[in-house]
C-alpha cells in the first residue's frame, strides 16, 4: 500500500480545541490556601513515607515525606506552616490514602528552603537521576509516573532520541503552551540534564501547529551551544500520547506491550522538563505546578501556578464558578476524571480543572446497539477494533478480548467520542482490562502456589 509520510500518526480525532479561552493568559501565582491537604499517593508506585509528626513546624520546600523504594518519590512542604493532622484523606480515585493537613502560617514570607544542588557539569548519570527523584518529580502531563524511573535506560538498551512532548492534545488545556512561552530557559536547562541522564544524541521538541507562538519563541531562544530541533506536527488527538508522538516524529512504532526505549526513544513532557531545569540547580523539591482552570462553568479562567495540595474547593472559590455547575473534571475532557468530592486536593499530576454546567454536558439518554458504522475503527490510533471489543465485552469474553489486543488500548477515548450509538466503549475497556489484570495476577499466584 502507499505510505505517505505525513508527520503524524494514522487515525485519531479532531475534537473542538477550546484553547483560545486560556492560551493568551499568562501564568499567575495562586494564593496559599489556609490549609493544604497532601495525599501521599500522587504518583504511580509506592506511597511516600511520612517523616513529620503532628504539631511540627515545617518550612516551604522542606522534605516531609520520603520515597518508599525505587518506584516512588518524596514530597516537600508546599507552604511554611504547622502539621495539623496526619490522617487518611480522600483522593480522586475515591479511595482514601494517608495524608497530611498542613496549616499555613498566615503572614510568612514563604521563602523556599533549598537542598544540595545537582551540578550539571560534574554530576554523573546516577546523580542526576537521584536528583530528579529527590526533587519529587513525576510526569506532569497527567500520568504522574516517577520521571527518574522512566529515564533509567535498562541494561543493554540505548537511547538515541530525547523527545520533549509539547503537544498538549487534550482540548481546553494550555499549561504546556504557557510553560513553553514563559519558561524557555528552564526547558533548555532541563534538556541539558535529560541529555546527560539518558545519553541521547539528539533532542526533538514536538509541538502541535496550534501553538506557533510557542514554536517561534523556543526557536528564538535555543542556546548557541545546544542542538535542539523543534518539529511542528498537525493538530490531532491523541498525538500527545508517547506512542503516537514517536510515530509522528520518528515514523517508528513502539512494539505492542513495550516501552519507547525499544525504539531508542525517551519521551518527557515539556513542563516536567522545565521543572527539572528549575529545581535541580538549586536542589529544590516540587511544591507547585501550572494548572489550566477553564470550562464554561468557571468565571476567572486562566493558567495558575498552584501549590500542590490546595483543596479543590478552595481553588473553585477563588476563581468563581457558575451556580449551575454539574460536573468537574481533573485533567482534560478526553481522559480526565470526574470529581465527586470537592474536598480532594490538587496533586502533582493535575494538569487541568474543568467545570461544565448542565447544558454543556452531553449525556446521551439512550445507548443503541453497534451499527457497525466503523467510525471507531477509523478513530483508534492503535488500529484496534473497538466495535468488536465492545461486543465481546458485553459477552464478558475476556480471553477473546485479549486476543483482540484489549491490553494495548490506552483508554484515549477516541472510539467513544465518535460512536454515534453512544456506546461507552472506553468504560467497557477500562473495566475489562482491570478484570483481565486481576485474573492474570490470580493465575500467577496459583501457579506460584502449585510450584
Amino acid at each position: 500500500m502507499l505510505n505517505f509520510r505525513t508527520n503524524t500518526f494514522k487515525n485519531g480525532i479532531h475534537p473542538p480545541e477550546h484553547k483560545r479561552e486560556t492560551n493568551g493568559l499568562p501564568i499567575r501565582q495562586f494564593p496559599f490556601a489556609p490549609v493544604i491537604i497532601l495525599p501521599m499517593v500522587q504518583h504511580i508506585g509506592a506511597p511516600s513515607k511520612i517523616m513529620v509528626v503532628e504539631g511540627q513546624e515545617v518550612v516551604r520546600g522542606q522534605l516531609i515525606a520520603q520515597a518508599d523504594g525505587y518506584v516512588s518519590v518524596p514530597m516537600h512542604a508546599p507552604v511554611s506552616g504547622t502539621i495539623r493532622k496526619i490522617v487518611n484523606v480522600p483522593t480522586i480515585s475515591g479511595k482514601m490514602a494517608p495524608g497530611i493537613f498542613l496549616e499555613a502560617f498566615p503572614s510568612s514570607t514563604q521563602e523556599v528552603q533549598e537542598g544540595t544542588p545537582v551540578n550539571l557539569e560534574s554530576a554523573t548519570t546516577e546523580e542526576i537521576l537521584q536528583g530528579i527523584q529527590n526533587a519529587g518529580i513525576v510526569g506532569l502531563g497527567g500520568a504522574a509516573f516517577p520521571t527518574h524511573v522512566k529515564l533509567k535506560i535498562p541494561e543493554g538498551k540505548h537511547c538515541e532520541v530525547l523527545i520533549i512532548n509539547g503537544i498538549e492534545c487534550e482540548p481546553y488545556l494550555t499549561t504546556d503552551h504557557r510553560v513553553m512561552l514563559e519558561q524557555a530557559q528552564d526547558i533548555f536547562t532541563g534538556i541539558r540534564y535529560l541529555l546527560k541522564a539518558t545519553g541521547a544524541t539528539r533532542v526533538i521538541i514536538g509541538i502541535e501547529a496550534n501553538k506557533q507562538d510557542a514554536v517561534d519563541h523556543l526557536e528564538a531562544n535555543i542556546p548557541n551551544d545546544l542542538q535542539v530541533s523543534i518539529k511542528v506536527v498537525p493538530v490531532k488527538y491523541p498525538q500527545g500520547s508517547e506512542k503516537m508522538l514517536i510515530t509522528s516524529l520518528l515514523d517508528r512504532e513502539v512494539p505492542s506491550g513495550g516501552l519507547p526505549i525499544e525504539v531508542h526513544a525517551v519521551v518527557v513532557n515539556v513542563a516536567t522538563t522545565a521543572e527539572i531545569g528549575r529545581l535541580l540547580p538549586h536542589g529544590r523539591g516540587i511544591q507547585e505546578r501550572v494548572i489550566t482552570i477553564t470550562g464554561p462553568g468557571i468565571k476567572k479562567k486562566g493558567n495558575y501556578l498552584i501549590p500542590i495540595g490546595t483543596p479543590l474547593r478552595y481553588v473553585l472559590e477563588q476563581v468563581g464558578v457558575d451556580g449551575e455547575i454539574s460536573e468537574v473534571y481533573m485533567g482534560g475532557p478526553m481522559m480526565g476524571t470526574a470529581v465527586s468530592n470537592l474536598d480532594i486536593s490538587i496533586v502533582k499530576g493535575t494538569s487541568g480543572i474543568l467545570a461544565f454546567t448542565e447544558k454543556d454536558v452531553i449525556r446521551p439518554e439512550k445507548i443503541y446497539p453497534c451499527i457497525k458504522c466503523g467510525a471507531c475503527v477509523d478513530a483508534c490510533p492503535l488500529f484496534l477494533n473497538p466495535s468488536r471489543l465492545g461486543i465481546l465485552a458485553k459477552f464478558e469474553a475476556y480471553d477473546q478480548m485479549t486476543e483482540h489486543h484489549l491490553m494495548d488500548c490506552f483508554e484515549c477515548g477516541s472510539c467513544s467520542y465518535v460512536c454515534p450509538a453512544h456506546i461507552p466503549l472506553v468504560q467497557y475497556f477500562r473495566l475489562s482490562k482491570s478484570i483481565v489484570r486481576k485474573r492474570q495476577a490470580a493465575a500467577k499466584q496459583t501457579l506460584e502456589y502449585v510450584q
Binding site: 480525532i13 512504532e253 505492542s256 455547575i325 460536573e327 474543568l354 490510533p381 477515548g413 467513544s416 454515534p420
Partner: protein, 339 residues
C-alpha cells in the same frame, strides 16, 4: 457554597456529536427528493405504494417491540428508511396489500428475528424485496409507463386488488430498459435514463437525485463513500471492457450505471452500515465484489435486475470480509491470519 451534588461521568466527557437518530434522519432527508420525484413521475399510484410501505414498516416495528416487551424503536427512524427503500424498489402499481405485506416481511424477517437494528445481517428492504419477488413474480415485474397524462387523477385498479388476490393483467406492463435491452435489444437514451424519464420501479429512475442524496450524506460524513465508488467503479470498468470487446452483445457502461436499481442500490442500500464490513479495506472489497456480481448477474444470469441479489450476497459476505481483513494492530508485525 457548592454543596450541590456533582455528577460523575466517565471519560471522555465530550462527544463527537453524531448520533444514530441524526444519521438515520438525514438518510430520510436524502431519500425524500427521490421519493418526491417518483411521485411526480408515476403519480398517485407511487405515492400510495410509498406511504403504505413506510406505514407498514413503522407499525410492524412498533408492534414487534411491544409484544417482545421492549421500548418501541420507531423513533430511531431506521424503519422509515426501510419503508422508503422498499417502496422505491417496487413497481408503481404494485397492489397495496402486497406492499403492506412487504413492509411486515422487511421488519419481521429482515431485521427483528436477527435481534433488531444493528444485528441484522441483510438489508431489510432487500430481504423483503427478494421475498416479494418469489411470492408475486408477476405483480413485481408489471411495470408502468412514466408520465401518463392522468397520473395525478386516476389510481390504477390493480393497486386496490383485494388481499390474497392477484391483480388482473390489464395490459399495463411496459418493459423496463434493462429487460428491453436484454430480451429485445432496445437501447434507451442515456440522458433519459439519468434524468429518470423512463419507466422502472418507483424510485429506480432518477439517478441524478439519488447521486445528490448520496453526495449530501457523504459530505456530512454519514455515509462511507468507498462503497458506492467501489460498486459503481467496478461496474463501469467491467462493463466498459465487455462493451469494448463486443458492443453488440454487451450494453454500454453508462447504460449499465444508470439503469435498473444500481444507483439506488449502490448509494442507499449497499451502504447500510450494519450489513457492510467495518474496515476501509473491507468496504472496498465488499463494493468491488458487489460490482462484479451486478455485471455477472445482469449479463449472464437470468435476471436483468441483478443488483438486489448482488447486495444480498455482499451482505452475507461482510462478516467474513471483516474476519479476513483485520488491520494490523499498532506495534505488532503482520501475523498469519487466524480465525
Amino acid at each position: 457554597m457548592y454543596s450541590k451534588t456533582l455528577h460523575i461521568s466517565t471519560s471522555p466527557h465530550i462527544a463527537g456529536g453524531l448520533s444514530i437518530e441524526v444519521i438515520m434522519r438525514n438518510v430520510v432527508w436524502a431519500l425524500v427528493p427521490v421519493a418526491l420525484f417518483a411521485v411526480y413521475t408515476f403519480g398517485l399510484n407511487a405515492l400510495m405504494v410509498l406511504v403504505t410501505t413506510v406505514i407498514s414498516c413503522l407499525l410492524t416495528e412498533h408492534f414487534l417491540c411491544k409484544i417482545s416487551k421492549k421500548e418501541s424503536t420507531i423513533s430511531d427512524w431506521s424503519a422509515v428508511i426501510t419503508g422508503l427503500l422498499l417502496g422505491l424498489t417496487l413497481p408503481p402499481i404494485f397492489p397495496l396489500w402486497m406492499a403492506f405485506f412487504g413492509g411486515v416481511i422487511a421488519i419481521a424477517l429482515g431485521k427483528f428475528i436477527f435481534g433488531g437494528l444493528g444485528y441484522n445481517v441483510f438489508n431489510p428492504a432487500l430481504v423483503s424485496r427478494a421475498v416479494l419477488q418469489a411470492a408475486f413474480p408477476v405483480a413485481i415485474t408489471t411495470w408502468f409507463p412514466a408520465f401518463t397524462d392522468n397520473r395525478f387523477s386516476v389510481v390504477n385498479a390493480s393497486v386496490f386488488t383485494f388481499p390474497f388476490m392477484s391483480p388482473g393483467v390489464d395490459g399495463l406492463s411496459g418493459a423496463t430498459p434493462l429487460a428491453a435491452f436484454k430480451f429485445d435489444q432496445v437501447i434507451t437514451n442515456n440522458s433519459d435514463l439519468a434524468l429518470g424519464l423512463i419507466s422502472g420501479s418507483t424510485g429506480e429512475t432518477c439517478a441524478v437525485l439519488i447521486l445528490l442524496g448520496g453526495l449530501y450524506l457523504i459530505v456530512r460524513n454519514m455515509m462511507n463513500w468507498r462503497i458506492p465508488v467501489a460498486i459503481l467503479g467496478t461496474v463501469l470498468v467491467l462493463s466498459g471492457i465487455l462493451h469494448l470487446i463486443d458492443s453488440q452483445a454487451y450494453p454500454s457502461p453508462i447504460f449499465m450505471l444508470f439503469s435498473g436499481g444500481l444507483m439506488l442500490g449502490a448509494i442507499f442500500m449497499a451502504t447500510d452500515m450494519v450489513g457492510s464490513p467495518i474496515t476501509s479495506l473491507g468496504v472496498l472489497i465488499y463494493g468491488t465484489v458487489i460490482g462484479i456480481l451486478v455485471v455477472v448477474i445482469r449479463i449472464w444470469g437470468g435476471l436483468p435486475e441483478g443488483v438486489m441479489y448482488a447486495i444480498l450476497l455482499g451482505n452475507a459476505l461482510s462478516p467474513h470480509i471483516d474476519n479476513l481483513v483485520k488491520p494490523r494492530v499498532y506495534g505488532t508485525v503482520k501475523q498469519p491470519q487466524q480465525s
